[in-house]
């Protein structure tokens, strides 16, 4: 599991796929007050190539599809496929996620809708959640500071804009720092996951130095060995050199099958087959809270990339409120009534 070269290879492959025939996709969830959700998918491509199996969210024949060809100011053509479907509640969305046969079927996703009555207002909360891949990994926030996190969670268009802005030097430095810090985060999380998976596979067989707690206490050593040998990790692992250095020769021979199975599991989770897209959520009423990116017109956006849900669930949430006019009127009348009563009493007394 040579993380660095593999990471580069995956990035190149993904870039090639994106540039070749993968459309740029935005999924918009328009949330209604009754909990129903109108989901819209908009895919843009320079060619009229839209492979149904490459759509990033569940899609079937019940969607209303519209194709169009649009021209920009320069006269360039863009093929746009729009699809729309009304989900009567968030359970329907979750059912579609469970039966998804699209390109992102391996990833566990769900949505949530909560409606809270707060007398003067009714509050709504909608969330799209992608479950984490690693059970034992560390949150990326432990490795990046606030500014770096903001850059890390930005869409590619924003990243490019910042890198080419007058502060380009600053953002290039941030980009490099993030790259080295996320490398360390990936290694640390992958090794923590390996220890977890290895312990699950060995079960009661492992005793003494090979228990989960004992291995976890020496996790730092494994990370150090792995990072020092990052360029030849695969060959060193398959030859058993890294394992021997970490758990000793006799244990490396005894637990080789479990160790190899665990590293295969970790690799699958680390390089999950996931096609990125962007999510937009449009809430009913006035927006009062979100963890998404927002522009001046309250358009919310979340880029969805596989590293976002590697160690922690990636939750895209938005909250809004709508005033209950009847409650305002009832409260006003009640307050006036009590006030009038008090005035009446004082007049009578006078």
């Amino acid at each position: 599991m040579n993380i660095k070269p593999l990471k580069v290879a995956v990035i190149i492959i993904l870039a090639l796929i994106t540039s070749c025939d993968e459309p740029e996709t935005v999924v918009t969830d328009i949330v209604h007050t009754d909990g129903s959700v109108t989901r819209r998918i908009e895919m843009k491509n320079t060619e009229n190539k839209f492979n149904i199996h490459k759509i990033q969210v569940p899609f079937d024949s019940t969607w209303i599809v519209k194709d169009s060809l649009e021209f920009n100011k320069k006269g360039d053509t863009t093929w746009v496929k729009r699809a729309e479907k009304l989900y009567h509640n968030f359970d329907e969305i979750n059912m579609s996620y469970r039966s998804d046969s699209g390109c992102n079927k391996t990833v566990s996703r769900r949505s949530e809708f909560i409606k809270r009555f707060r007398w003067f207002n009714t509050e709504y909360r909608f969330a799209e959640i992608i479950e984490r891949e690693f059970k034992h990994g560390y949150p990326v926030s432990d490795f990046l500071n606030k500014e770096e996190l903001q850059y890390f969670y930005s869409p590619n268009t924003v990243m490019d804009k910042l890198v080419n802005s007058p502060d380009s030097l600053k953002y290039k430095a941030i980009k490099d720092t993030i790259s080295s810090k996320t490398d360390r985060w990936t290694y640390k999380s992958a090794m923590a996951e390996w220890i977890g998976d290895f312990s699950t596979l060995t079960g009661d067989k492992a005793t003494g130095d090979m228990t989960f707690d004992a291995l976890k206490a020496r996790e730092g050593e494994l990370v150090k060995i792995s990072m020092q040998n990052s360029n030849h990790f695969d060959s060193l692992w398959s030859n058993g050199i890294i394992l021997k250095e970490f758990i000793g020769e006799s244990n490396a021979i005894k637990y080789k099958t479990e160790a190899d199975s665990a590293i295969t599991l970790v690799s699958k989770k680390l390089f999950v087959d996931f096609h990125g897209y962007s999510v937009r959520i449009i809430m009913p009423g006035k927006l009062i809270g979100t963890n998404g990116l927002m522009d001046s017109t309250n358009v919310l956006l979340w880029p969805v990339k596989s590293e976002y849900f590697l160690t922690r669930p990636y939750e895209m949430w938005a909250e809004s409120k709508e005033p209950n006019k009847w409650a305002w009127i009832v409260s006003g009348i009640f307050l006036l009534f009590v006030l009038a009563g008090i005035i009446f009493k004082s007049i009578k007394k006078g």
Partner: protein
């Protein structure tokens, strides 16, 4: 016997006096005005009694200590709840404004408000094409609004030019130059 005869004579006297008084009745002038005056007084008195009863009934609770205290407490709780809730919401909205970042609107805006775009603008030919041949009420309203906005902006521009003689002169010169060029071509 004497007493009985005295009583009879007194009652006869009384009857005679009342007969005299009945016969010498005072002449009543403006009887209608008097009647109206009496009726008005009765009406006002009844109204005052009624209004007193309604208010007394409506605000009867002010004389019951625990009801009065309870309602005042409920009012205070409602006001406090309103203030706290609104201030929390305002704080959250202010935080949201700080969260704002510049997003390239070219694509991330995503789907149009109107699901199927009514118009397709070909910038090369500069022509609009109408998809589907019909417009919905919403699309018609949008079109009407944009035309009205355009007309208002045009009127404002004309007014601005009319009010500024220098600007007017400058534009007239520019237009005449443009016309000359066209003629030369």
């Amino acid at each position: 016997m004497k007493d009985i005869s005295e009583m009879n004579s007194e009652s006869n006297k009384y009857e005679r006096i009342t007969d005299i008084l009945k016969k010498s009745r005072p002449v009543l002038t403006g009887s209608e005005a008097i009647e109206e005056n009496v009726m008005e007084r009765i009406r006002v008195r009844r109204k005052a009694t009624e209004s007193y009863n309604f208010l007394d009934h409506l605000f009867g609770w002010v004389y019951i200590g625990w009801v009065r205290s309870g309602l005042v407490a409920a009012s205070v709780i409602i006001i406090a709840f309103f203030v706290v809730q609104q201030s929390i919401i305002l704080k959250r909205i202010n935080n949201l404004e700080r969260q704002e970042i510049p997003i390239n609107p070219s694509f991330v805006k995503g789907v149009h408000d109107v699901f199927e775009p009514a118009f397709m603008l070909d910038t090369r030919s500069g022509k609009f094409s109408l998809k589907g041949g019909t417009l919905s009420d919403r699309q018609l309203k949008l079109l009407e609004k944009s035309i009205n906005d355009l007309q208002t902006s045009y009127s404002n521009l004309i007014k601005l030019i009319e009010d500024n003689p220098e600007l007017k002169q400058y534009l007239e010169n520019k237009l005449s130059e443009k016309d000359k060029k066209k003629i030369n071509l």
